[in-house]
């Protein structure tokens, strides 16, 4: 007893010092070889070791001091803060929250023009505004919206039906290659091939669905992963058709009611008497993908109210109960796979039209993982949450491309590009640990008795597969 009382007064500090030292020692153990030494090839292509004890010391110090600060100050502080705030936090945000989807949608609709206007004001000329907006519309707008659409598509499989799909990118690839091949070989137009790509992808979804219907949970996950890899490997190796790793280039662009976005006299710019610029096509693509993404969202929302959507959600919650209530689990799973795959196919054909080039490089497992991460980080099943997660994760990594100014701090050898995926991976961990239920964890019930009540995140249970 006496011991305990003696330690009590300065225990937080003493504990922090101890933990800091331990963390430092741990960091030393972890990084001793991998950071302390760097292996480089010399002129005869042999590996030589370079020692980097300074860098190792930085790693160890950061770990030790970080841990010390965390235990000594940050944890007690945040605990005290959460104790005080717990009562007040509940009610503040509802007004903004309720209209958030509408505000977001409005912003998305005017986004390209907003960018042009801001840059116009900033540069002082309309052309400056147009050209400057290219990057923001393309790299941020279109890129994020593609992922929003893919994640909403995958959400049907994972978020609604509760089937863990690790090979979603396969359907994206099917869509992209359908468009690329049919358009280069048969000269079919984008608008014809867009639905066809969706249908092809849906057929592949059913083909994948059939054999794996009996599988549960993680067996399903590994088969979908294997399926994604099989598609990619076939694309690489079936060189007669797919040209292997070289990919297919020169894919036709999409047109607006037959008006091509080319600089010639019949082009879009000339017809409307606008100055020539590549930006119209990008803006057109932006609205196209926005439309496709909204279509995905609309279909998801409508389907959730239909018997099939209810069956999906029932399947997610409890497969056995589902079956005993007479729901045909086979068709339910197959439709989920097919619908999700179809939207993947749409997104794929859009991707091919946007890039003008497809290669197996774009359809690696990492893409599936990123899409799945967006779905889960968004709070499975919540469309708004998924959109936020896509904007944060994809927008964040795109922002990291822009960190040229870091070169001034760390010297010209510093390449921010290298750290992009490292930070992306770490961000996935940090966000997940911080918000295990995703950004929007609570869920609107699709069926209710008298009044719609939000299901708090603590009660949402998912992922039985």
């Amino acid at each position: 007893m006496a011991d305990v009382q003696k330690i009590e007064p300065d225990s937080v500090f003493a504990k922090a010092v101890k933990e800091g030292l331990l963390a430092g020692a741990l960091a030393f153990g972890l990084f001793f070889l991998i950071v302390g030494f760097r292996t480089d090839q010399n002129i005869r292509n042999e590996l030589v070791l370079n020692q980097r004890w300074g860098l190792l010391a930085i790693f160890v110090l950061v770990a030790g001091i970080g841990r010390f600060l965390l235990t000594a100050y940050i944890t007690p502080w945040s605990e005290a803060r959460s104790k005080n705030k717990r009562a007040a936090v509940e009610k503040e945000q509802s007004a903004f929250r309720k209209s958030f989807p509408k505000i977001g949608l409005g912003l998305l609709l005017i986004y390209p023009f907003l960018v042009i206007l801001i840059l116009w004001a900033y540069n002082g000329s309309i052309m400056g505004g147009l050209q400057g907006s290219l990057k923001y519309v393309d790299n941020f707008g279109i890129q994020i919206l593609i992922y929003v659409m893919l994640a909403w598509g995958l959400n049907i499989v994972v978020g609604l039906a509760g089937l863990l799909d690790l090979g979603y990118v396969a359907f994206y690839a099917v869509g992209a290659y359908s468009y690329a091949l049919l358009s280069t070989h048969f000269g079919l137009s984008f608008w014809l091939l867009l639905p066809m790509a969706g249908i092809f992808a849906a057929l592949w979804g059913i083909m994948l669905g059939f054999p794996v219907l009996r599988l549960r949970g993680d067996y399903l996950a590994i088969v979908t992963l294997a399926f994604g890899e099989i598609i990619r490997l076939v694309l690489i190796n079936w060189t007669v058709v797919t040209k292997g790793t070289f990919g297919i280039s020169g894919i036709a662009k999409a047109t607006l009611f037959g008006i091509p976005f080319t600089p010639g006299p019949t082009g879009f710019a000339a017809l409307l008497g606008l100055p020539n610029s590549g930006v119209y096509y990008k803006i057109f693509l932006y609205y196209l993908i926005l439309l496709l993404a909204l279509l995905t969202a609309w279909v998801t929302i409508r389907l959730r109210r239909m018997p099939i959507g209810r069956a999906w959600e029932a399947l997610r919650e409890d497969e056995i109960a589902c079956r005993s209530l007479g729901i045909n689990t086979t068709t339910t799973k197959l439709t989920a796979f097919a619908t999700g795959a179809m939207f993947g196919g749409f997104a794929g054909s859009f991707f091919a039209a946007r890039q003008g080039f497809v290669s197996p490089e774009s359809f690696v497992f990492l893409e599936s993982a990123i899409i799945l991460a967006i779905v889960v980080l968004g709070g499975m099943g919540s469309l708004v949450g998924i959109a936020i997660a896509a904007a944060v994760m994809i927008g964040g990594t795109e922002l990291l491309r822009e960190l040229e100014f870091l070169k001034r701090i760390f010297g010209p050898d510093f390449t921010p590009e290298l750290y992009r995926m490292l930070l992306f991976g770490l961000a996935m961990i940090v966000v997940m640990v911080w918000k295990p239920r995703g950004f929007v964890g609570n869920r609107e019930p699709s069926a209710f008795l008298h009044k719609r009540k939000m299901v708090s995140s603590e009660f949402t249970k998912e992922g039985h597969g």
């Binding site: 991998i34 590996l47 863990l164 067996y219 056995i320 799945l372 889960v376 490292l422 991976g425 996935m428």
Partner: protein
């Protein structure tokens, strides 16, 4: 026939490596029901550790006997990779225990991305070749079948490790704690087993086997790169599922099978499609045996 036996030997060597990695997947899955996606990258990290130890030995000490060098590489790689795995579990998986099922899967994928890119940043993106450690081989008398010494090393090390591992899981207190956690974590905790510690130890043990697999991989191929975690990782996970995930003998059987399929498919059909063959056989096996070859079918009580 000789060709077949030769290719089977090659397949078994590869399969041993897959089996060693697969044990890590299957044990973690058995105990907390989570796919540890970062395990393939832990394997890659182990191979890097072994590579750096090898270079440190040749740079600072000079001629070390091969057996001693290999042993040192394995031991250091095992210890440090175990430490890494312990830390990963502590930082990325333990806070999410009791959360819903997909949360740790996402952190595992994040950890996998982070680990491979961390190695890329710290060690550079290029392949890391090392000079061959073990040369030569023996020709079986009266035939053209050769067994390289490095293949023998792989098979011998695998057998020794598996024996030690079997002993650890079946005869020691730790192993008993692990098996009990696998059956019922809550009950095990009530009976006084430190569940968190047991889970940590499971991660460490899996990583140690992966580190040995990494060392053997480095010795066999003589080269390692930061992307080398993914494909062996996915193959090993395939092996674990093929054998029946959660079952330790299943992981080894699955690993050997995947290795054999790959080697024989490359020998008789097309080397380009060897991975396609392995994955397709996985899908076909799972259609007829939905819980793998040695896995017990899951009975769900309502």
């Amino acid at each position: 026939m000789e060709y077949f036996i030769q290719q089977s030997i090659n397949g078994l060597t590869l399969g041993s490596i897959y089996g060693l990695i697969a044990i890590g997947y299957t044990m973690v899955y058995g105990i907390i029901g989570m796919i540890n996606f970062a395990h393939g990258d832990v394997f890659m990290l182990g191979a890097f550790m072994a590579m750096i130890v090898f270079l440190a030995l040749t740079t600072f000490i000079g001629g070390v006997p091969v057996v001693l060098a290999l042993l040192l590489m394995m031991i250091v790689a095992m210890l440090l990779t175990g430490l890494w795995s312990w830390t990963i579990e502590r930082l990325a998986y333990r806070p999410l225990r009791g959360s819903f099922r997909l949360a740790p899967l996402i952190t595992a994928i994040g950890m996998s991305i982070a680990l491979s890119n961390f190695v890329q940043v710290t060690q550079g993106p290029r392949n890391k070749p090392i000079p061959p450690l073990v040369n030569g081989g023996i020709t079986i008398y009266g035939t053209n079948i050769t067994v390289a010494y490095k293949q023998m090393v792989i098979i011998i090390v695998t057998v020794i490790l598996l024996a030690a591992f079997w002993y650890l899981v079946n005869k020691t207190t730790l192993g008993r704690a692990q098996r009990s956690c696998e059956q019922d974590r809550k009950m095990a905790a009530l009976l006084g087993i430190d569940v968190d510690k047991t889970i940590s130890m499971t991660f460490v043990m899996g990583a140690m086997l992966a580190a040995v697999a990494g060392t053997l991989y480095l010795m066999f191929y003589g080269v390692i790169s930061f992307t080398d975690g993914f494909t062996p990782g996915v193959k090993a996970f395939t092996a674990a599922v093929l054998g029946g995930i959660g079952s330790l003998p299943g992981a080894v059987v699955g690993g050997l099978l995947i290795g054999l399929i790959e080697a024989l498919w490359s020998a008789y059909f097309s080397i380009d499609y060897k991975d396609v063959a392995a994955f397709s056989i996985l899908a076909i096996v799972l259609i007829f045996l939905p819980s793998g070859i040695l896995g017990r079918p899951e009975v769900e009580k309502v």
